[in-house]
């Protein structure tokens, strides 16, 4: 009986958490559509997410493209299909690995930082201070982060796509002795607009999820430094799981 009770409690808590997140998201998204928008806060978040995430996303994309070229070459050599390396690299990067890896890296960097910053503001009463200064904390803290997340992740992914393909090109040409012109032709030949566009749409959704979970977990944090630490962990874990889950759903919608 104790086991059943525990499972029941966990299930109810899970449902309640989904309800709380949904209400928070609905409130935040409705504020996104109503003026005023705090432009300085938005600019700060665009720089934070778009500019300062560029090195980590770029490095991830570069090495992913390089590894993809290497792996697909050694794999495809078993049935004499080495010529497909460039196509595999570009499709894998634009459709899947670019958006997913960029989303996960940004979740680790930005989601954690959002949860820590808003969580610290919550436990030191800075969020309450915003309210007493007749400023809506959702509008001031959450809305700029959501808009910046949705706007900047596609930009990051577009850059990651280029860097990832370049990484594959470098390995293909300088290590595997592909002809540069042939490699580039193979890259372009089978690439369709939907491959890039679907990746960018995924990136926008991932940006929303990362910002939403970072802000929600920070906003709900309680209990001093320990609470902020828990919020940071929860923000990264929940955003990462939601990215992988929504990635499957969107892939199914786009390509099946």
């Amino acid at each position: 009986m104790g086991f059943v009770t525990a499972v029941g409690h966990a299930f109810l808590e899970f449902v309640a958490a989904i309800g709380r997140i949904s209400l928070f998201a609905a409130s935040a998204l409705s504020h996104c559509l109503r003026p005023p928008i705090h432009v300085r806060q938005l600019a700060r978040q665009i720089v934070e997410i778009g500019y300062f995430s560029l090195p980590v996303v770029g490095m991830t994309a570069l090495f992913t493209g390089m590894v993809l070229a290497l792996q697909s070459y050694t794999g495809f050599a078993r049935f004499n299909a080495e010529g497909a390396v460039a196509t595999v690299v570009v499709l894998s990067v634009t459709r899947e690995l670019g958006p997913v890896l960029a989303g996960l890296m940004v979740a680790g960097r930005i989601g954690a930082s959002m949860a820590a910053e808003i969580g610290t503001m919550r436990v030191t009463e800075q969020v309450d201070a915003l309210t007493t200064l007749s400023t809506n904390p959702i509008k001031y803290l959450v809305v700029p982060r959501l808009i910046a997340g949705v706007a900047m992740l596609p930009v990051l992914v577009l850059i990651a796509d280029v860097i990832g393909v370049f990484g594959g090109f470098v390995v293909g040409v300088y290590l595997l002795d592909f002809n540069p012109a042939s490699y580039l032709r193979a890259t372009w030949e089978f690439l369709e607009p939907i491959d890039v566009i679907s990746g960018l749409i995924k990136a926008a959704v991932f940006g929303l999820l990362v910002a939403l979970m970072g802000c929600y977990q920070g906003y709900q944090s309680r209990g001093g430094a320990q609470g902020v630490g828990r919020a940071t962990t929860n923000a990264v874990v929940s955003a990462s799981i939601l990215i992988l889950l929504s990635n499957y759903v969107m892939t199914d919608l786009f390509f099946s």
Partner: protein, 263 residues
């Protein structure tokens, strides 16, 4: 009762609030007149901060009435609440300065957000706001992390009064300060409140601070106001709870949940 008499600036009646089955406010009644300075004293966990948060709408009370200028505020919606809060200023216990903003932007935050001043005008106006709490103009360019505890409290006071509110709340204004700096803050509170002609509601367990800034002192115990009277009568209130608290005695009707593990 004279029907033409103006309502009190703040009136709480039968306010209740609980968390996870624990009742914190149990029918709290308190009235603060226009221009009056009331200090609520009481031990930790008696509901002082919860009372302030219920008035500000940071917490939703479970029951009772909270009136500002005679107008019921417990069910106000977001935008109406925002308008109401323009009447309020608050000095938080830990100062609660925005640590990503410089001092000048902290002090003039409400004025910028409400469109009263542009950022350029606010930057120019900040030294005057800081001078009101005895701080030099160069402090305006510092970040909150660069300030001492006493300076942070002064900046927070400057922020609370910058928009010239009608009602000011002070949450444990002297906690964490040395006695001299505590007295400096008390003096500043008295002078600022008088200068603005504001209504003040403070909560503290520092009796020196309470005597200095209060016209009237009220004591909260187990979520109710159990005594209220002029500040100069708190020493001979005739109430055993107040006597024990004012004299800081362990023995008396107030029992602290302390487990003795020795002796």
């Amino acid at each position: 009762m004279n029907p033409d008499a103006a309502p009190p600036k703040l009136a709480l009646s039968g306010v209740t609030k609980g968390f996870d089955g624990k009742q914190v406010l149990r029918g709290l009644d308190l009235s603060v007149g226009r221009g009056e300075s009331v200090v609520v004293i009481g031990g930790s966990g008696t509901g002082k901060s919860v009372m302030l948060k219920c008035i500000l709408g940071l917490l939703q009370p479970d029951g009772g009435s909270i009136r500002v200028d005679g107008r019921e505020t417990t069910r106000l919606s977001g935008s109406d609440r925002t308008v109401l809060l323009r009447q309020f200023g608050m000095l938080f216990q830990g100062a609660a300065l925005f640590d990503s903003l410089p001092v000048w932007e902290n002090v003039t935050f409400a004025l910028i957000q409400r469109g009263v001043l542009t950022r350029k005008q606010a930057r120019a106006a900040a030294p005057e706001k800081l001078a009101a709490v005895g701080l030099r103009p160069e402090v305006a360019e510092l970040m909150p992390v660069e300030l001492s505890g006493g300076m942070q409290k002064r900046v927070a006071l400057a922020r609370a009064i910058a928009a010239e509110p009608e009602i000011i709340f002070f949450d444990e204004p002297t906690t964490g300060l040395d006695p001299i700096m505590g007295d400096v803050i008390n003096e500043l509170i008295v002078s600022c409140v008088k200068k603005l002609g504001a209504t003040a509601l403070s909560i503290t367990h520092d009796m020196a601070s309470a005597r200095k800034i209060a016209d009237r002192i009220a004591m909260i115990h187990e979520g109710r106001i159990i005594w209220s009277g002029p500040a100069d009568t708190v020493g001979d209130s005739g109430n055993p709870f107040v006597d024990q608290f004012v004299n800081g005695r362990a023995e008396g009707p107030i029992r602290m949940p302390v487990t003795k593990r020795f002796g």
